[in-house]
């Protein structure tokens, strides 16, 4: 049974306020039957240094990615992960993490590929939890394995492949990488390891909205009016648009996918997880360099 929603007034303006919980809400609901808290970080050891009591860890490299193919785990792999994490199909899952919930949003997106219904983000993630002086523990949670069904992953609605993006050209694209990556000065995020792309630049017509713009200085999501200013006024999105977001490997863009879908209410947003590491190495796909979006080539 789903745990009650966080009815905090500040979430009320978002399209799907049920996708967020506040730190106060989480503190009050820790231990509620049916609630599983998941930590998902960039740093694979951060959880071990201290985590919210009872939270389980899900790592994007080790748990969500297929170890051989460049893909996510399949239905059986996801079911096994859920089982060992103590999550049932009707659990309420609250995910939080470091870096403005960057990886938490990525995990939420993967949960959504498997249609896990009730999955929410902790607004502000670790940063807010810490700033408020709330407790961490290093005690491992007692997890009882569950019987999670094997559900086939559905890539058709919120995931875009390269060919989908080629067919999408002419409709809105949001490139959430840094301006340096967008313009083609570099192929990796500043201070990030090279994950390999042979060419630099961006997909023609993409608007550059670095993912972190959606977060306020304290790590929580910006109010709707500010999001509108960024994505509608700034990047030209309007109601009814079909949107594809991409970055370098699909993690930063899943954060933007969350914002566009759950906070702003766009109904057809897909995350292109192949992103620049695929596009920038693919043969004969169009690329634009420089700070302007550029034109979609005639076909």
């Amino acid at each position: 049974m789903a745990v009650e929603h966080d009815t905090s007034a500040r979430f009320g303006e978002y399209a799907h306020p049920e996708r967020l919980v506040s730190t106060e809400w989480l503190q009050q609901h820790l231990g509620t039957p049916g609630l599983v808290v998941v930590e998902s970080d960039e740093d694979v050891l951060l959880y071990e240094t201290g985590h919210i009591a009872g939270a389980v860890k899900i790592d994007w490299h080790l748990d969500l990615n297929d170890p051989v193919q460049r893909d996510y785990v399949d239905g059986e792999g996801f079911a096994a992960l859920m089982s060992r994490s103590g999550i049932t199909r009707d659990s309420t899952v609250v995910i939080y993490g470091d870096k403005n919930n960057w990886w938490a949003a990525y995990a939420l997106w993967v949960f959504s590929l498997f249609g896990h219904e009730d999955v929410r983000l902790l607004d502000g993630g670790r940063a807010t939890w810490e700033a408020e002086g709330r407790d961490y523990t290093t005690e491992a949670p007692a997890v009882e394995a569950t019987d999670y069904p094997v559900v086939e992953r559905d890539d058709s609605v919120i995931r875009a492949y390269k060919d989908d993006v080629l067919a999408h050209l002419g409709k809105p694209l949001i490139d959430v990488r840094s301006p340096e990556e967008f313009s083609g000065q570099r192929t990796t995020a500043p201070a990030y390891p090279d994950e390999g792309a042979l060419r630099a630049g961006h997909i023609p017509s993409a608007q550059n909205v670095p993912w972190g713009k959606a977060a306020a200085d304290d790590g929580t999501f910006r109010p709707l009016a500010e999001l509108d200013a960024i994505y509608r006024d700034g990047a030209g999105l309007s109601d009814g648009d079909q949107v594809v977001a991409y970055c370098r490997i699909g993690e930063r863009s899943s954060h933007t996918w969350f914002v566009l879908t759950h906070l702003m209410g766009f109904e057809d947003v897909r995350n292109y997880d192949g992103s620049w590491t695929e596009w920038g190495s693919a043969v004969r796909v169009p690329i634009v360099q420089g700070t302007e979006p550029g034109e979609v080539p005639a076909r």
Binding site: E42, D43, V44, L45, L46, E48, T49, D59, H61, L62, D98, P190, A191, Y192, P193, D194, E195
Partner: protein
């Protein structure tokens, strides 16, 4: 693995990791992370001397000292980056006191891939440690060039 020239401290570290299952390797990495010493004051006051390792996801800075042909690696990384701190700590302990020749000739560039952490932290993340080692060696070459 038979690389008899590999310095003993690095052999010991590798054996320690390989003796553990993957989960406990992470715990050991955390212990290393906690053991990373603070920078000596002479570097803490001179951030300009430290070199940023841009291949690492977190801000990590290192400086290699060579005194009387002996190598000492100093590094600093924030508490929120325990994995990177762990990588730096392994190298700081493993290389400390080795001769220049030992580090350059007997420590293979792919040492980070051989200590069982690839499975524990993922191949992509281990690249950060490989980059640390590469930069440490480069600094040593620079400091001893023409000596």
């Amino acid at each position: 693995m038979t690389d008899s020239a590999l310095p003993e401290a690095l052999v010991d570290i590798r054996e320690e990791f390989l003796a553990l299952d993957v989960r406990n390797r992470l715990q050991l990495l955390l212990e290393f992370s906690n053991e990373l010493p603070e920078l000596p004051a002479r570097y803490a006051d001179h951030p300009d001397l430290l070199e940023r390792v841009v291949e690492c996801q977190s801000p990590v800075f290192l400086f290699v000292e060579v005194t009387d042909d002996r190598v000492h690696l100093h590094a600093t990384a924030p508490r929120e980056a325990p994995t990177t701190r762990g990588f730096a700590s392994i190298l700081a302990q493993g290389l400390d006191g080795l001769t220049v020749a030992q580090v350059l000739d007997d420590v293979p560039d792919d040492y980070p891939q051989t200590i069982g952490l690839t499975e524990a932290v993922s191949p992509l993340r281990i690249r950060g440690m490989t980059a640390l080692l590469g930069r440490a060696k480069r600094q040593i070459r620079e400091r001893t060039a023409g000596a």
